[in-house]
Symmetry: C2
Subunit: 458 residues, 2 copies
Amino acid sequence: MSNEKIPYKIYLEENELPKQWYNVRADMKKKPAPLVNPGTGKPCTAEELSHVFCDELVKQELDETTPYIDIPQEIQDFYRMFRPSPLVRAYFLEKKLGTPAKIYYKFEGNNTSGSHKLNSAIAQAYYAKKQGLKGVTTETGAGQWGTALSMACAYFGLDCNVYMVKVSYEQKPFRREVMRTYGANVTPSPSTTTEIGRKILEEFPGTNGSLGCAISEAVEAATSKEGYRYVLGSVLAQVLLHQSIIGLESKAAMDKYGIKPDIIIGCAGGGSNLGGLISPFMGEKLRGEADYRIIAVEPASCPSFTRGTYAYDFCDTGKVCPLQKMYTLGSGFMPSPNHAGGLRYHGMSAILSELYDQGLMEATSVEQTAVFEAAEMFARVEGILPAPESSHAIRTAIDEALKCKEIGEEKTILFGLTGTGYFDMYAYGAYNDGKMSDYIPTDEEIAKSLANLPKIEG
Amino acid sequence: MSNEKIPYKIYLEENELPKQWYNVRADMKKKPAPLVNPGTGKPCTAEELSHVFCDELVKQELDETTPYIDIPQEIQDFYRMFRPSPLVRAYFLEKKLGTPAKIYYKFEGNNTSGSHKLNSAIAQAYYAKKQGLKGVTTETGAGQWGTALSMACAYFGLDCNVYMVKVSYEQKPFRREVMRTYGANVTPSPSTTTEIGRKILEEFPGTNGSLGCAISEAVEAATSKEGYRYVLGSVLAQVLLHQSIIGLESKAAMDKYGIKPDIIIGCAGGGSNLGGLISPFMGEKLRGEADYRIIAVEPASCPSFTRGTYAYDFCDTGKVCPLQKMYTLGSGFMPSPNHAGGLRYHGMSAILSELYDQGLMEATSVEQTAVFEAAEMFARVEGILPAPESSHAIRTAIDEALKCKEIGEEKTILFGLTGTGYFDMYAYGAYNDGKMSDYIPTDEEIAKSLANLPKIEG
């Protein structure tokens, strides 16, 4: 089909929507390393994990072989509330850049959580409800995941307790208010409500908090109360499974119009969006059916892929979670306080880490002033004010499109626009006022943070 | 077609989108009263109006007879950025209410301005650019219109100066920051930058401001600078013309699926959304081709339809604008400071005022705690956190659906969901904290505010 006929926005029909998630591990010859129990040094059993996670989610976490997993009807129904998300042809951006590249983005921000996080939140809440639990606990950094989980819990009538990284809690009072509107309890982390929180506060008084801390608190809160489990918005295999809906819809929409991307770009913090977006494309690549250039974009201030080490590490600062083999900056790593938005996790999805290690995808890091410059340009031409996280992908998509212009190549670029920046105006304000700065950790800082990796052979 | 097959969301195809706006005045036998020059007491001429408004917009303002007006290609292109907006079947809300009613809403919030206001902003910016102007000035209350205009001006490279009602400016720093991200200059009103602003500040020191004040300032700023014109986001006939895109798309989507609404509901401040939503339906009603119950919903704290007078009045506090015959509470009316969100204008669109006066539509008023109660319910079941303004329509739609339940009637309800509440979390916070109160102006207050109407026979 000629590109002339491609609409600005492609919405799949409801009967074209995916009814199954795709589990990319099934097509990986070398699987990601297993989660390891820090006490025994051995792979976690389902039984061990079921103290922390819902049973069905444990099953999904450990399933490395089933390629397609049915999406329960109740979740499909909820998806109709905000899916399909549009695949947008960025005609306005292309024109602004004067590039021969064809740019598409999958926009996941058209729901109140403001991001793709709702895709997994509703699944995790559904399985918690099905198991008869009272509620769930979680952490949130920028606040997108916490909001998504609040919405999902409100829908199923579950209690929702969110530990919000302190710096975000303070910078984003309105994000907090959205969660409260959906009935969630929001606590700034580190807090005095958990043992680990009190310990961290003692050791680092005045800390801004980190995702790693907040995870520890949320896990402690879940495991110390009857009828509660912990849920996580990124990093885990189960989350990438649920997020595969992004890639499956993108691929279905592209296939419908005969479009084949050359380059696929996504921002990467824990890897939930990137893993979801690329999964069916990566599947083709793993099966030798197609080839794509796949680029993970991370902040220069939290560069786990580009400057971290591939090793077993703690998933949380409090060291209460299973160990995971991943690209990591060390579980004590805390991004500089001037770092705006999410993508502040010290590690990376085990699946993506393994794929990266196998050379199946690339990674790049970008500085935040360059990210906000791209965000502002995008907002002005495409009419969507992007989240700082998503803007990392925009930055790299623009850079790749400008390379196409330079060398006169008509590449097709697909990137994930994970969400909107309506609750990030504090950061936009700093940028507007010329007060935003960049921070790149020194080699010494990273080495120091990596000095305490656990001794597990991966 | 059976209702069983109606999707959750109906998106028109790009080739089904309206290419013309609809001018409901063409089908009105008795036309709205003309704008009057306060100096001469006579209908404003095009020449007089062209000092304030762009030439092409003056033409549209005065055109009472042309039923369909072409949407310029440049505006159609921009519309592709955020249109079509979805017509959503509120299956989740229906289920929650247990009503036999079928509820649909046209959702205009999926763009960064967060509301329908962008439909007219881009048209007004286009005509300003076409006329070779340097920039435009305007006022904004809740901030939706100012944001929309900032986006439109950024697109066409126009200078954009926004006078923002002081109470909103203070309550919504992030709304202001969005406008700045799109390059607009935002000034709290009343300000010392205009003569009228200084006069109002002298007379009412510590005032929270009002739309009427901000309009006066914006008009003064436009008419005292070379190459500038004033633009307005509601009330005017030209705005209702541009907003007819909402109703035209809604009707096309409903016709496509053989759906006929019994009741059409919209919130009403100045009337831009309501007028746009109902226009093609009202056209059928005026031509005797169909009948619909049409309900305007206004805040009990600013009840121009339900408690105002149909008379000529000033459109602004400073009395610098043309007079308009409309339902009004008096140009000095200021809603109580506890009033959250927009819908704070003292008057009402002349077109809607005349239609209401002819008995072609109804009006009702609702109190804000009831509005936020409806907003919260809607957010939780439909996944969209609505703007306080839009939630007035939700409140009445829910009430009508509950009446259907009571009497077992299967009515079809269409309402306008004008926008999202992401920048209204201050108000949601007050509601969440149980600190929101209602205020209904006394008869004496309204009588006092109406005592100074200009002496013009309408």
